[in-house]
Amino acid sequence: MLVVKGAKIYPGTGAVLENGVMIIDDQGKIREIGQNQSVGEADQFLDFTGKVIIPGLIDAHTHVGMWGDGEGRSGYDGNESVRPITGEVRALDAVNPRQISFAGAREGGITTIQILPGSGNPIGGLGFACKTQGTVIDDMVVKHPTGLKGATGENPKRAHGESQKQAPATRMAVASMIREYFKDAQIYGDKKKKAEEEGKPFDKDLNLESGLMVLKKEIPFRVHAHRHDDIVTVIRICEEFGIEYTIEHCTDGHLIAEYLGKKNVTAMVGPGLSAASKVETKDITDQNPAILARHGVNVCLMTDHPFLNCRYFLQYAAIAHKHGLSFEDTLRAITINPARALGIEDRVGSLEVGKDADFVVLNGEPFSYKGSIARTYIEGQLVWEREAY
């Protein structure tokens, strides 16, 4: 048993615990959390008097471990952009847990991430969620797969139309190829079902299997969209097929916030603090998360690491808070909202009995520069600690 005491705890769900107590079992699960727990026979006490504890952060959209961070080109495995439809590829097969980005995530207080393939392909492959500490990726996985990556707008046009003179060269073709993919997956699913019913042998198509999972609502379609019309296109297509989706980036969301609120959209908003690096991101604003939340959009913040270094996820959240996202909404946007959006809220996203003891110890309030991250814990284990330079 490990007893954490003395700190002000923001559990993420429920009321703030001044002088809170958290009891963690040997499996790294929260056994008790509250203010008046009797703490008799603990093996270890951690006294964090004067500190603040928040749940381990969840970065819902990253390329941690797969973008050659500090490794140059040899470590880059982000986009299988030799052809536009690659439903069969899996981010899980390309992640290096020893890459510096994992250490950066721990430094940034991030304990769980979703890792997705890049946005070069209209259909990009499967993503997954994992913890940020470990040496074997399969041991770190929280959930696989968490979604099928899709992409609209400039990136697929550039990766294919411009670079390789092949479709898609326009937004029309991007949409059409996504549609065709899901139509193929529907037909494939019907054939597969028939073969199963008739007990006949059936050749699996791993590309279309991913689409079929989406059609069966086993996983959502997670679609890269910056420009407002691309976001609207994604919603149009997903409604045609009755599939679940999240809007990844949602940069122009503030321009169509009312529409997105009406649709109950979940948006992974980010990368924060970015420059307008493309035409489709020219209207980027730090106010986007606040405007979206005000209109009822389910907002999760994300770094899109490496595009915002995940070390600075909490700073991004602070800036979103500065620009109007309430304290509670900001904390939720980096903890419980992404946990729910990834379907892993039974394990992570808040400090509650039975959940993983993933938490961050701060030297002050979370969205103040005085609230630097002192320590990061995953499943009760210390995984990062600030040391003086």
Binding site: D69, G70, E71, G72, I100, S101, G104, E154, L273, S274, A275, A276, S277, K278, V279, T281, K282, D283, I284, Q287, I291, H305, P306, N309, R311, Y312, Q315, A318, I319, H321, K322, F367, S368, Y369, S372, R386, A388, Y389
Partner: protein
């Protein structure tokens, strides 16, 4: 005359003045202090106890050159057709309508250093500019501030990939040395004309003459420790001045840095390990520099890290042990020294340019807003004008 009353003035050179006044006249700071008389002012801004700092300075950017939200048509950063292009001037590539300038003003940045990219061994001259107006020539504060040079992965990657020199770090150094040698010989010929007929103009050597004569420094892109050592070696060979930008591995060769007392533009510290040569990027570099008294400022390398995060960079540095006042100096006074414009900007002192930022609270705090930005005595941004 414009006055600002009841503000905490963080001067950078004369300490912090509580409940002070600032008097601005003809684009200059006329007076500042508790007793500065604002009675002759036509307009007085009531600071209501808020904070005033010098305008922030981002000493290494590509604003106007690598335009925000424009894509390829707005990219004029690297003349990547020839590794030696010292005769280029960044002034000819700056679009003052780049939307980033407006974002800089909203972020309290009043002066920027703008440099050509780091794709070439010698990229051309850089300049210092005020973030105001539509005409680049009217915004220029100092041109040139120095000659852009680059070592390491960028030049060798750009040209090696095309089967051209430089393809290695040896090639990088040889090209830089060759150009400096040629310019040295050229100057020698100019000084000792032997054969008037045989004299041919060499535009590259011509452009390097101010460097050879010690009038302007080389502003050198370096990340890896051995590239830092190489550039110091080469500059010593030719007796030319240099300042260093990025300097990611600088803390690994801190004794050399200290001995040579070379001014460094550290950053973009918030960026990731985008290359092998910057894999060890973190806030260790500025913290060690501060401890060792190696002169430095922070740079964002906008748009690599968006310039609006300059203040955030300073805030994060304090979490690693940089004192608040040193962090603020590293984006104001030290930046002005880096660019060689500290006679005009970088601190709040009578006689300096009236470039000021009025903050809603402690500038280091994440949630503090820039309430007003003033350049040369003109209010160029006021919060509320653009809020929704």
């Amino acid at each position: 005359m414009l006055g600002i009353r009841d503000v905490k003035i963080m001067t950078m050179t004369g300490g912090t003045i509580e409940k002070g006044n600032v008097l601005l006249e003809d684009g200059k700071i006329r007076a500042c202090g508790r007793d500065a008389d604002l009675s002759p002012c036509i307009k007085v801004i009531d600071g209501k106890g808020r904070v005033v700092t010098p305008g922030l300075i981002d000493a290494h950017t590509h604003v106007g050159l690598s335009e925000s939200g424009v894509g390829r048509e707005g990219t004029d950063t690297n003349e990547g057709t020839n590794p030696l292009t010292p005769s280029l001037s960044v002034r000819d590539g700056i679009n003052m309508q780049d939307q980033a300038f407006e974002i800089f003003r909203r972020s309290g940045i009043t002066t920027v250093g703008i440099l050509p990219g780091s794709g070439n061994i010698l990229g051309g001259t850089g300049l210092a500019l005020k973030c105001k107006g539509a005409i680049v020539d009217e915004a220029v504060l100092k041109d040139p501030i120095g000659m852009r040079a680059a070592l390491g992965e960028n030049p060798k990657g750009n040209y090696g990939g095309q089967r051209k020199s430089p393809a290695t770090r040896m090639g990088n150094a040889a090209l830089l040395r060759g150009a400096l040698q040629k310019a040295t010989d050229y100057l020698d010929k100019l000084n000792h004309p032997r054969d008037e007929k045989g004299k041919t103009r060499d535009k590259d050597s011509e452009a390097l003459l101010p460097v050879i004569k010690g009038e302007i420094p080389l502003i050198v892109h370096v990340h890896r420790h051995d590239d830092i050592v190489t550039v110091i070696r080469i500059c010593k060979e030719f007796g030319v001045k240099c300042i260093l930008d990025h300097v990611t591995d600088g803390h690994l060769v801190k004794d050399l840095m200290k001995r040579e007392n070379i001014h460094c533009g550290v950053g973009p510290s918030m960026h990731y390990g985008s290359k092998v040569e910057n894999k060890d990027r973190d806030f260790r570099t500025p913290v060690v520099f501060h401890r060792e008294d190696i002169p430095f400022c922070f740079i964002t390398d906008h748009p690599v890290v968006d310039g609006r995060n300059l203040i955030l960079t300073a805030s994060i540095a304090t979490q690693w042990g940089l004192p608040d006042d040193s962090a603020l100096k590293a984006i104001t006074l030290a930046s002005a020294q880096h660019l060689g414009v500290d006679e005009c900007v970088g601190s709040i002192e009578p006689g300096k340019d009236a470039d000021l930022v009025l903050w809603s609270g402690n500038p280091m705090e994440y949630t503090t807003f820039v309430d007003m930005t003033i350049i040369d005595g003109e209010i160029v941004y006021e919060r509320g004008m653009y809020q929704c």
